[in-house]
């Protein structure tokens, strides 16, 4: 491996461009003649729309058009629908309401778009939007996740009658009850897995242009790869052939799952461009991020676990309520199940498992995939159970885990939910994390903290994911006559660093220097047809494999050409470090690429050029399993309730590490978001469905001051189900951090008998718990 090959901590190619302001984000895109769109959004959580009076707004300066849901319907514009289908054990399907792009008849959450105003300037559109008069009749609303299962809660969809969309179960509960009854020790946990606003740095935006002559609609928007949005818009919304729909994302400032989705505003902006005959630009602001970007998490879990006299788990029952919001997101409803939650029981070997999920409707923003997408919730639940099991059995927290983890000699391991875990060294992860965090020396550190009036705690969290997303991805590799290589991708780097890693792969496989490799991405006109995008920690796994296979095809073709050039037999041609050799003769891949342009150099019937694609298709049920163990150490100031992380050790197995520098970045970012959930972030709706945390003044993003140095380590176990040996790396941190952190805080609070608190562990919440514990003791 060369200096820029696989496994090297190569600096990111894209950073100079991005850090010196040369990125091109959607707001940087301007098209001659464009008009500006501003959405009129519902100030109500739940209401009947009696009427919409657009006349005063239409008369305002600069206004070009105002459209409502009725205009869309009259023009045959399609609706949004979840991709998820589930049914209960009796076979009753879930209730899957359709969502119109602009609300018609009713609004079901605060922030729902009701109308769109087009004007010559952004300011004019804003001013006019305030003049659109919507007459609402307020309806009773429900925001609470656990409250929505109550049959008497105000129905978001009266046509369904209940806010419970479906009661999904993996099997009858009675099958597990028999095992639970035999348990020597039983533990239960009740968890509120807090709702989060993902908040990528770049708010949403869209610029759409319709070319009436060619019938091509072009949309610029931040995405995670345009192919899926292209398909959804063309087929489902605009009803045009997919090849007439082009989606372009040059640079995108963060995705985390929610930027990959087809939002109503994208459809409206495209349609409005067609309807008005003018290019339309919409620039969402941060307030709109809070009320219209899909939210993350929001589950309520109740779980019960039974253990035998040896501390082995004999039965597990999990009841999850998922708040899907007012409508069903593309993937939202499946997150607790096939979207990620089915990784329960995590890294543990548990034979008897009952799993129940109720996705419920509420008058809130729909929830969907957010970094980890069901896996952080699943792992958090398992790790809270393990801590409870330690308390109940008297075993240490690591011992009870050791007794139950899936051992390496059990691999490949078929989980209860039908996932085949190919590899992983779960005990090794724990050993490594405990050693590097100096778990043994903790007691001495605890005593030191005590001297300064602080309570110190240490916590551990195991995790495993099922990563990989959709089972299709296509990549194309071209070597031009000038010897430079280009990767054409449908995966889409929106921060991850694909320009760098893909170039490393090309240098490794084809010997084309790192500096001579470029990446073309973010445009459905250039990305291979079989692509899906970047989400679910899949780009190395699917895209990397696509590059590998395309490179193999380049070599295979190159070998034929080289044979002709070297006047040898194809079988006798070897390829190494970018050089084809036969006997004493040799020719570089660059020379072959140049020669490949001339038909005279090519074997009979061969197409000119060195340009190969490969469509990776895998079994839809085949995933990879990133895993790891995080150890977190905290100090709690008991007088103020402030929790400070003082030490953090992350051991990750993401298979073969292609670039440790970049994977460390992924770990840091994931841990930051996991700690954000556990320490500072919370989305609060009041009983009326009003969003109380609609800006950074009230919604706490994690800040540098909340962290200590994060020691990121790898326990590299190559994945057996792909040739690169890679597993996902993007979401691991968010899966490991919440449980390690909460475990640490509960360890610190043990003297007060506090064993569980719901996230986020804000000063007020921690202090309150301590104050109550003190007064209980006094009583």
């Amino acid at each position: 491996m060369g200096q820029f090959g696989i496994g090297q901590p190569v600096r990111r190619k894209e950073d100079v461009r991005l850090l010196t302001g040369k990125g091109v984000y959607t707001d940087d895109v301007n098209i001659d003649g464009q008009v500006f769109a501003v959405f009129v959004r519902s100030p109500q959580a739940h209401a009947t729309i009696n009427s919409i009076d657009i006349q005063p707004a239409l008369a305002a300066e600069g206004v070009i058009a105002i459209y409502t849901g009725d205009d869309l319907a009259a023009d045959g514009v399609g609706t949004l629908e979840t991709e998820v289908e589930m049914s209960d054990l009796a076979g009753n399907p879930m209730f899957r309401p359709k969502r119109t792009l602009l609300a018609t008849g009713k609004v079901r959450f605060l922030g729902e778009p009701v109308a769109v105003v087009l004007a010559e300037t952004q300011e004019q559109a804003r001013a006019a939007a305030e003049l659109v008069m919507v007459d609402y009749d307020q309806l009773p609303s429900i925001a609470s996740t656990s409250g929505a299962v109550d049959p008497s809660s105000p129905p978001v969809w009266p046509e369904h009658g209940s806010n419970v969309s479906v009661h999904w179960e993996n099997r009858p509960a009675s099958e597990i009850d028999v095992h639970m009854e035999r348990a020597k020790t039983r533990v239960t946990v009740d968890i509120v897995n807090n709702r989060l606003v993902p908040n990528p740095m770049e708010p949403r935006a869209a610029v759409a242009q319709f070319d009436a002559e060619t019938g091509v609609m072009t949309l610029y928007a931040p995405t995670q790869g345009g192919r899926r949005i292209q398909g959804g818009l063309a087929k489902g919304i605009l009803k045009i052939p997919a090849d007439k729909m082009r989606v372009i994302s040059q640079d995108t400032g963060g995705g985390f799952g929610i930027r990959g989705k087809l939002y109503p505003e994208l459809g409206v902006v495209c349609w409005a461009a067609r309807r008005s005959g003018r290019p339309v630009k919409w620039r969402g602001d941060r307030s709109e991020t809070f009320v219209s970007d899909y939210h993350g998490r929001d589950q309520v879990n109740h779980a019960e676990m039974g253990l035998d006299e040896n501390g082995r788990v004999v039965a597990l029952k999990v009841h999850t309520i998922l708040n899907v919001g007012a409508y069903m997101g593309e993937n939202g409803p499946r997150l607790p199940i096939s979207g990620g939650g089915r990784i329960i029981p995590g890294v543990y070997d548990i034979a008897n498992f009952y799993f129940s999920v109720k996705p419920v409707f509420t008058n809130t923003v729909p929830t969907d995939t957010y970094r980890g997408a069901g896996r952080p919730e699943a792992n958090f639940l398992m790790e809270r159970l393990m801590d409870a099991a330690a308390d109940a059995t008297g075993l240490s927290r690591d011992e009870v885990r050791r007794r139950n983890v899936i051992r390496q000699d059990q691999m490949p391991y078929m989980t209860q939910m039908g996932l085949l875990i190919d590899s992983g060294d779960f005990i090794g992860n724990m050993d490594m994390a405990m050693e590097h965090s100096d778990w043994k020396g903790f007691e001495a550190r605890r005593k030191d903290s005590e001297k300064t009036g602080k309570l110190r705690g240490i916590g551990i969290g195991n995790f495993v994911e099922a990563a990989g997303g959709r089972p299709t991805e296509e990549m194309r590799v071209r070597i031009s006559p000038d010897g430079k290589a280009t990767v054409f991708a449908g995966t889409y780097s929106h921060g991850q660093g694909h320009e760098t890693v893909y170039a490393q792969l090309i240098e490794e496989y084809l010997g084309v220097p790192f500096a001579d490799v470029s990446l073309v991405q973010g445009d459905t006109a250039t990305s291979p047809m079989g692509s899906a995008g970047t989400f679910g920690s899949r780009s190395s796994w699917m895209g990397g494999l696509g590059i590998r296979k395309s490179s193999d095809a380049v070599i295979a073709k190159g070998r034929k050409i080289a044979a002709k050039l070297l006047q040898g037999e194809e079988e006798g041609v070897t390829f190494e470090n970018g050089v084809f050799s036969a006997g004493a003769g040799s020719v570089t891949i660059q020379e072959v690429a140049k020669a490949a342009q001339e038909p005279k150099n090519l074997p009979e019937g061969m197409e000119p050029g060195l340009d190969e694609s490969f469509h990776v298709k895998r079994d839809a049920e085949l995933f990879n399993f990133p895993n790891g163990c995080h150890v977190c150490e905290v100090e709690v100031d008991p007088d103020l309730g402030i929790v400070q992380i003082v030490r953090y050790t992350a051991v990750d197995d993401c298979g073969v590490v292609l670039n440790p520098f970049i994977v460390h970045g992924q770990v840091y970012g994931g841990v930051a978001q996991g700690i954000g959930q556990a320490l500072t972030e919370n989305t609060v709706y009041d009983a009326e469905g009003q969003l109380m945390t609609g800006s950074f003044m009230d919604y706490g993003m994690p800040k540098a001051q909340h962290f200590s140095h994060i020691e990121a380590l790898f326990n590299e176990v190559p994945c057996k189900t792909n040739e690169l040996g890679v597993k996902g790396a993007g979401e691991a941190g968010a899966c490991g951090a919440p449980s390690a952190f909460v475990s640490a805080v509960m360890d610190a609070l043990k003297p007060y008998g506090i064993r569980h608190l719901d996230m986020p562990l804000t000063p007020d919440r921690v202090w309150q718990a301590i104050a109550e514990a003190k007064s209980d003791k006094a009583a």
Binding site: T680, F696, M697, P763, A771
Partner: protein, 264 residues
Amino acid sequence: MQDFTFHMPAAVADASGLLGSCEDPKLIAGGMTLLPTLKQRLAEPTDLIDLGAIADLKGIRREGEHIVVGAMTCHADVAASELVLSTIPGLAMLAGQIGDPAVRHRGTIGGSCANADPAADYPAGIVGLGATVVTNQREIAGDDFFVGLFETALEPGEIITAMRFPVPKWSHYMKLRHPASGYAVVGVMIVDTGAGVRVAVTGAGPSAFRVTAMEEALSADFSAKAIDAIKVDADGLNADMHASAAYRAHVIGVLAKRAIAARR
């Protein structure tokens, strides 16, 4: 943001004149609060009068037993001022804990006090140090300046020109940052004036207030022990989803004791 006419007068008198003559004018200092308000169309003034070009309003100087801070002095300058650090370190400490570096380089002491955000830090300094608010029309005692939620004793058309702080014997400021905004959930300023002790609290009430029970106890015995038994009444204190009134009341006591413990 609505269009407006922008003015940049070079003297306070000119600014004052514009305030009188424009239809719906607004002063702008650092713009840290005003600009977001304009962007959200919560205020739509016809005229913005920028105080940034008035040299008289900037800078920090000593006048006898007082430190005078011009209204347009930014937080970062107060935090780093040798003069403030050597005379009223508690004030420098306070300014250095406001917001983030960008905010500290734009936001001004005049703008912060005129705005009178209940969670702002400076009000604790103005009240705790017994400062005088100097305007283009009169002088207002710090104790009388903050009259309620976002409400001050300023009359329409009045411009803050400076804050005059008496140099105390000792001062210290401690703050519990809001988990989201970074403003003060509670901020406590303790000042030994030489003639007695002043304890001022921001963040906890509708506006900054003094804790007289603590002041009396500390004036008699300047030690953390002296206020150990003093409980601040949670009644009437701010409560929001990030901090209950009971928590705020408790935190006042903890921060006050820690501030005192910081004196060696």
